[in-house]
């Protein structure tokens, strides 16, 4: 009887705030005092046990799983280290650990700009508010390491006073403005995806922004539209490249997690289903409904996530996802192989003495083919979010990669080369990195030193700073 009493009482239990904190409070634990259920579920993103067929919470070394990536990214940071993303809890830890950020020895050292911090922490809106946006983007990544220490959290998505969803960073707002759209007009349901679209989107660093010349200003390339062709055209028009490929010398584009863009092309977006509907489903605990902040693969939570809308068995729904992923990945793998071939064949052409002029159209085709591949590959979940669109994009990539290779055979012909360029032995990550000439041991050593010498300083400084905050933990 008492349990029935309790349960009925639960449904009317009222809320009283425990702590009052400011708008820019970066520490999730502080917000968590007021919202224990949300906080505790958020904290579960620390869990790394679940693995699905291609994704999940675990740390997955993608270069090991698929060493072709090393060759595709030769000459670029991603060939050093790339993991399948994991829980928000690890955002700061992972950017510190990745070989991509190198082993800076001081605040002006290292391969990466400060802009890299933008999507990793609620310290970012705080800092932007304190020092200004362009100032934030300025300088090396090591420069603000001691400022950015709390992993992605409450202040990234919420207004502290109302707990409404909010956009906490400029890039998305600016991109909307350039498209002539007003993000303040977004509906509540749209906001349930737009908070994610602050980070899960393709971006580039614009160094030519008026008023902030030379600063790697975080920019979303959506001015002509958000599909793969429109962004490609955008980049082509401003003659942008992320890097020059070490083998083929092609002016390359890197697609970074165009999650939101791809999602928009899918049936779920068409039907108004938001990111949060699947990745942050509602949950009831003792009569209290709240949003499950354990953001993760929905396949680890089919009951609350999919079955709200679909009455199929769990196994059936998971099979649906895997079928779509398999249908895409088979051809994505093939496209990777073709791109590896295209790069090594282009290198051969250069070696044979091909001219800039001869190579230019070929390199453009390689650029476009790999852009399309990366658009499909970098968008984790994309094979499910919009399978028909990703399938379409992969096909156009295959077509272009092969077109480049046809042109290359013609060039070989011209320079009297008869044979086929052998496919490199890149059976493992180590072999592939050796093939592209990456001094991996050196990079690892630098990283170790950085972790030993610099990281503790950052943490110490941060602790001191946070100790001065009004709200104590």
């Amino acid at each position: 009887a008492s349990s029935i009493m309790e349960r009925r009482a639960e449904s009317v239990y009222a809320y009283t705030p425990q702590v009052e904190h400011g708008q820019w409070e970066p520490r999730n634990e502080v917000w968590g005092e007021n919202f224990p259920r949300e906080f505790q579920s958020y904290y579960k993103t620390a869990d790394t046990i679940f693995r699905s067929k291609y994704n999940g919470n675990a740390m997955i070394d993608m270069l090991e799983v698929d060493p072709r990536l090393v060759v595709l990214w030769a000459g670029y940071g991603f060939s050093k280290d790339y993991n399948q993303g994991r829980g928000h809890y690890y955002a700061v830890e992972d950017i510190r650990n990745t070989l991509r950020t190198g082993g800076p020895k001081n605040e002006n050292d290292g391969p990466m700009p400060n802009t890299c911090w933008t999507c990793k922490s609620p310290d970012v809106p705080r800092l932007m508010n304190e020092i200004g946006v362009a100032e934030f983007y300025k300088g090396k990544w090591a420069g603000k390491g001691h400022e950015v220490v709390n992993p992605i959290g409450c202040a990234d998505c919420h207004d502290a006073e109302t707990m409404n969803l909010r956009i906490s960073r400029p890039a998305l707002i600016e991109a909307f403005e350039r498209q002539g759209k007003d993000i303040n007009k977004a509906s509540h349901q749209e906001m349930r995806s737009l908070v994610c679209a602050q980070c899960h989107v393709e971006y580039y660093f614009n160094k030519k922004r008026t008023g902030a010349e030379g600063v790697p200003y975080l920019t979303f390339p959506w001015d002509k539209g958000m599909d793969v062709e429109a962004m490609e055209e955008y980049y082509d028009e401003i003659d942008f490249k992320d890097w020059t490929h070490a083998l083929s010398k092609a002016p390359m584009l890197k697609a970074q997690h165009p999650g939101y863009e791809v999602y928009l092309k899918g049936i779920h977006a068409d039907r108004g289903v938001s990111c949060a509907d699947c990745h942050m489903p509602y949950k009831s605990e003792g009569g209290q409904k709240f949003t499950d902040h354990h953001i993760q693969s929905p396949l680890n939570n089919v009951a609350n996530s999919c079955q709200v809308c679909h009455r199929q068995e769990t196994d059936n729904l998971i099979k649906n996802v895997y079928t779509r992923q398999d249908q895409i990945i088979e051809n994505r793998d093939k496209l990777e192989e073709l791109l590896v071939r295209a790069h090594v064949e282009a290198k051969k052409a250069w070696d044979l003495g091909a001219t800039e002029e001869e190579m230019k159209p070929v390199l453009k085709m390689i650029r476009h083919a790999q852009w399309r591949w990366d658009y499909a590959a970098a968008s984790h979940g994309g094979s499910f979010h919009a399978p028909t669109e990703i399938g379409r994009v992969i096909t156009t990539g295959v077509e272009r990669a092969q077109e480049a290779r046809i042109a290359l055979v013609r060039i070989f012909h011209k320079y009297g080369f008869e044979g086929e360029v052998p496919y490199p032995d890149i059976a493992t990550k180590a072999k592939a990195q050796e093939f592209i000439g990456l001094p991996i041991d050196k990079l690892k050593k630098e990283k170790e030193e950085f972790k030993k010498n610099i990281l503790p300083q950052w943490d110490k400084k941060a602790k001191e700073r946070e100790a001065t905050y009004q709200v104590k933990m």
């Binding site: 349990s3 029935i4 349960r7 009317v12 009831s284 009951a303």
Partner: protein
């Protein structure tokens, strides 16, 4: 018969404690029935089903459906082939719901059970047989009834009557006649105070 009665009668020195205990259980039982508004389960009013907030989404969706005016929960969810079956099924179902609820075993998304499906399906047919069975066709096509009725109706009529979004949280702000809190105000105050003290 007498032996059975005797067997059930406790030995003299246990008599008192046993009767007291039984009394307590009986009393508690009544209290439970009262609290959970058991009497109301004998009625067909949909309001009874929302005695539990877990039934609120179904109430809310039904309440906004074309069936609100024509069918109560029990018109669909309880067999109507004979009176005995009706109350037997109600009791069985009700007990399961109550115990799941009390034990906090209710899932976020509730699925109708196979048995329940059959019941509902037959009720759809009960009301709609006019539209389903053309007597002329039925005379000529031996499997006519089977052919039009072998899939559950809501495989096609997916929105009847609860819509397609099924979750305890699917209608957070719907106006549902939930029971009032059985906890007196002073007790609520007390609970809050003790909770603050425990900080």
């Amino acid at each position: 018969m007498v032996r059975l009665f005797k067997f059930l009668t406790p030995p003299p020195k246990w008599k008192l404690p046993v009767y007291v205990t039984l009394g307590i259980f009986f009393g508690l039982g009544c209290y439970v029935l009262y609290l959970s508004k058991a009497a109301s389960y004998l009625s067909d009013a949909p309001e009874t089903c929302v005695n539990c907030h877990v039934m609120a989404p179904q109430y809310a969706t039904w309440n906004h459906s074309s069936h609100r005016e024509v069918a109560t929960c029990n018109d669909c969810h309880v067999p109507h082939n004979n009176v005995f079956n009706k109350y037997y099924f109600k009791a069985k179902d009700g007990l399961r719901h109550a115990s799941m609820f009390a034990l906090r075993m209710e899932p976020e998304v509730i699925f109708i059970l196979d048995e329940g499906k059959k019941v509902v399906h037959n009720n759809c047919i009960r009301c709609h047989s006019q539209q389903l069975t053309d007597p002329k066709l039925a005379a000529q096509v031996p499997n006519h009834a089977h052919n039009t009725q072998d899939r559950v109706c809501w495989e096609c009529h997916r929105e009847v009557p609860h819509g397609r979004v099924n979750s305890l949280s699917s209608v957070p702000h719907a106006r549902v006649p939930l029971p009032e809190s059985p906890v007196p105000d002073w007790l609520k105050e007390y609970m809050k105070e003790t909770e603050l003290e425990n900080e």
